[in-house]
């Protein structure tokens, strides 16, 4: 193995990441263990955030503002979006701090640094699963039968992970170098929430605007979930044709940027 000054840009070595996959699992495992140690309700915390947000949105947007909810009861309309949204928001919030929080490790041992934000994205899947189970329960409660589109859910989960990872890589790398990023993230998430059709429907936008709206990669994720689970109709294809490529772009550029800055982490963090 040769150690030399690294130059230029490149992708992370995926073969090496595969070799270190056990460590990725360990980081995610540790994250989950630590979060739920000494808690009383444990995994139920995963429900509280999306559930109570749903309650608040239902009161404000569903009841008071009487937002249209595409033919299904407002609570489940918004909750279907809140499940992937909460996953995304928590993933990037945690990931943005992950490099800095683990400075003790990265300054003392070698590992592909990519594992660290990736572990955040992976560990949040547990909360996602718990929230998703509640979603299944709610669908039964509202007697909504899933269509065959439900088979798309695994793909949509992958899309959510890809989106979260792309943003997570950018955030974690930037935060390692510029320490104010982590304080901007909660604010960014707030704004992003309202730029995403969680509390409202994309159909509120005129058709001409929808492709531009799709530049927000989470729009594609949310509408995808709604379509797969609630069977909300078409007319949103233009969104997907923009949204999914944007996700890939974020992921690719995120990988490149992260790899480029990775070598400076141990010196600057």
């Amino acid at each position: 193995m040769i150690i030399r000054p690294s130059r230029g840009w490149g992708f992370p070595d995926l073969r090496e990441i595969w070799e270190y996959r056990e460590l990725l699992y360990f980081f995610a495992w540790r994250s989950i263990k630590v979060r739920y140690k000494q808690t009383v309700i444990g995994a139920l915390w995963a429900l509280i955030q999306p559930f109570f947000t749903m309650v608040v949105f239902t009161v404000i947007f569903g009841i008071l503002a009487r937002m249209p909810s595409e033919g299904v009861p407002y609570p489940i309309f918004t909750y279907t979006a809140l499940v992937p949204w909460t996953y995304f928001a928590n993933s990037i919030t945690q990931a943005s701090r992950s490099i800095v929080d683990n400075r003790g490790i990265i300054t003392k041992v070698y590992l592909p640094r990519l594992i660290i934000p990736a572990a955040s994205v992976l560990s949040e899947l547990l909360d996602f699963t718990v929230a998703f189970l509640l979603l299944m329960g709610m669908m039964m409660f509202y007697s909504i039968m899933p269509t065959s589109a439900i088979l798309l859910v695994p793909l949509l989960i992958l899309l959510s992970m890809a989106t979260a990872l792309g943003v997570a890589l950018w955030m974690s790398a930037l935060n390692a170098i510029y320490r104010d990023v982590q304080y901007a993230v909660p604010f960014l998430v707030q704004i992003w929430l309202f730029a995403t059709p969680v509390a409202y429907s994309s159909r509120l936008l005129p058709e001409a605007w929808r492709p531009m709206y799709g530049i927000n990669p989470m729009v594609g994720v949310i509408e995808g979930f709604r379509w797969a689970l609630l069977g909300s109709g078409g007319g949103l294809e233009p969104i997907f044709t923009v949204s999914i490529p944007i996700t890939l772009l974020l992921l690719v550029t995120g990988l490149l940027y992260f790899r480029h800055m990775e070598k400076t982490f141990a010196d600057l963090v």
Partner: protein, 443 residues
């Protein structure tokens, strides 16, 4: 040259230091870029405040060496000389700025104890996580788990969160994990500066085992005793460059001599009325030296300057182990033989007859007190010396004597064994006549 496991060529590492903060904010970075762009647009030149000029330092420069499989190399040098930086580069934690290194073999880095520990997790969980972070596969950790717990002596506590452990327990756990890494190439950085004496002994033992199994070790330490005991070869790094590279004895001596030169004191510190200007060590033959044999006399000549006339001062000369434990002392507060007065320049010497010290590294300290026992000069380390020699030459015939001597209790008081079979055997440091004859010392 097939068995070269580490080859380093012209390695260099540049760090930026200075008033620039270790991290900047995105806001600042954007503002700077913006203002630079503006000023360039305005005046056609890029601005740059003179006050903001960054300073650079070469932590390593032009470092080249090779290590063969099975070699144990000690890396010594003053703080800031670049030793840790070298290990970090070889561990791939940070990139070199120039040059390159080739590594053949699995590397294990022991740069600190307890890497990856989380206080909320139990000892059990931390063993798994820390082990994984250090490079062990889960199957390996499963296999070695019981050994690790036993080495750390934490069987009863292994399921308690680590935040409840004492610091000693944490150190034991951390080292136990690291000790079971089994890499082909081990890079160790000063991790022995923690823990109590008993544990340090255990750690050094484990490192010794790793060495015996034919693995390669790069060992950074300030403990010259450990360096001499473990390493056949030493590299002295000074200000980022290799000052010496070769046989341990020689390199360590040269290093300590240079350090010794740095002890000359010019100016008195606050409140001091006596300055220790120079300390010279001589052996039984009266030669100025830093290397002594276990049977040697140790003569400490203290050249001092008293800033005013001081009546009946108390002098003390202490010999301590390299780790700082006081071993023995010549103390006028005990023996009462004080000079009537000292004034201006003078010299006082103390001769310790037949020191009976094992081959390790030692420190000499001087203290001067006024007759009311207040300090006239800070008690400080004024010199190092080494004791060298083969144990067999001095009557200690065990096969493992040389390996054990550097970590055993350094002071040898003559003793007798009354063995179960009835024999009575006297043991003392024998006087070693370089011409090959041996007599009892101290006659």
């Amino acid at each position: 040259m097939n068995d070269v496991v580490i080859r380093v060529e012209n390695l260099g590492k540049l760090y930026r230091i200075g008033k620039r903060e270790p991290y900047s904010t995105l806001r600042d970075a954007l503002a700077r870029t913006f203002s630079r762009a503006l000023s360039r647009a305005y005046s056609g030149r890029s601005s740059g405040n003179p006050g903001e000029r960054d300073q650079y330092i070469w932590a390593l420069k032009g470092v080249s060496f090779e290590v063969r499989k099975g070699e144990v190399v000690g890396i010594i040098g003053a703080n800031g000389a670049g030793k840790s930086t070298l290990l970090k580069i070889l561990s791939r934690i940070t990139d070199p700025t120039e040059g390159h290194a080739e590594i053949n073999g699995r590397v294990g880095s022991l740069l600190e104890i307890g890497t990856g520990f989380h206080p909320e997790l139990t000892g059990h969980e931390n063993i798994y996580f820390s082990g994984a972070v250090l490079g062990m596969k889960k199957s390996e950790i499963d296999r070695r788990f019981d050994e690790i717990v036993a080495f750390a002596e934490l069987e009863k506590f292994i399921d308690t969160p680590v935040k409840y452990y004492s610091s000693g327990m944490q150190v034991r756990l951390g080292f136990a994990i690291a000790a079971h890494l089994e890499p082909e190439i081990m890079l160790i950085d000063e991790v022995l500066a923690v823990g109590d004496a008993a544990f340090q002994k255990k750690c050094l033992g484990k490192i010794g085992n790793v060495v015996e199994e034919g693995n390669t070790v790069l060992f950074v330490s300030h403990n010259m005793g450990a360096i001499r005991g473990l390493c056949q070869r030493a590299i002295w790094l000074n200000e980022g460059k290799i000052a010496e590279d070769g046989e341990t004895q020689r390199v360590v001596s040269r290093y300590l001599t240079a350090v010794q030169e740095g002890f000359i004191q010019r100016q008195p510190k606050d409140g001091e009325r006596v300055i220790i200007e120079r300390v010279v060590l001589r052996n039984s033959q009266g030669e100025k030296t830093l290397d002594f044999t276990p049977d040697d006399d140790l003569i400490v000549e203290v050249y001092f300057r008293a800033l005013d006339r001081i009546e009946k001062p108390y002098f003390s000369v202490t010999v301590a182990s390299r780790l700082g434990w006081r071993l023995f002392r010549a103390d006028m507060t005990l023996d009462g033989h004080r000079p009537d007065y000292i004034e201006g320049d003078g010299m006082i010497a103390c001769k310790f007859k037949s020191i009976r010290l094992l081959p390790q590294s030692y420190v000499v300290r001087i203290g001067v007190r006024a007759k009311d026992r207040s300090k006239l000069t800070g008690t400080r380390d004024v010199g190092f010396f080494n004791v060298i020699g083969r144990m067999a030459d001095f009557g200690f015939a065990a096969e493992i004597a040389d390996r054990e001597a550097w970590r055993s209790a350094p002071v040898v008081v003559p003793y007798e064994w009354h063995l179960p079979d009835g024999r009575v055997i006297s043991v003392d440091i024998k006087h070693y006549d370089k011409r090959g004859k041996s007599d009892e010392v101290g006659g």
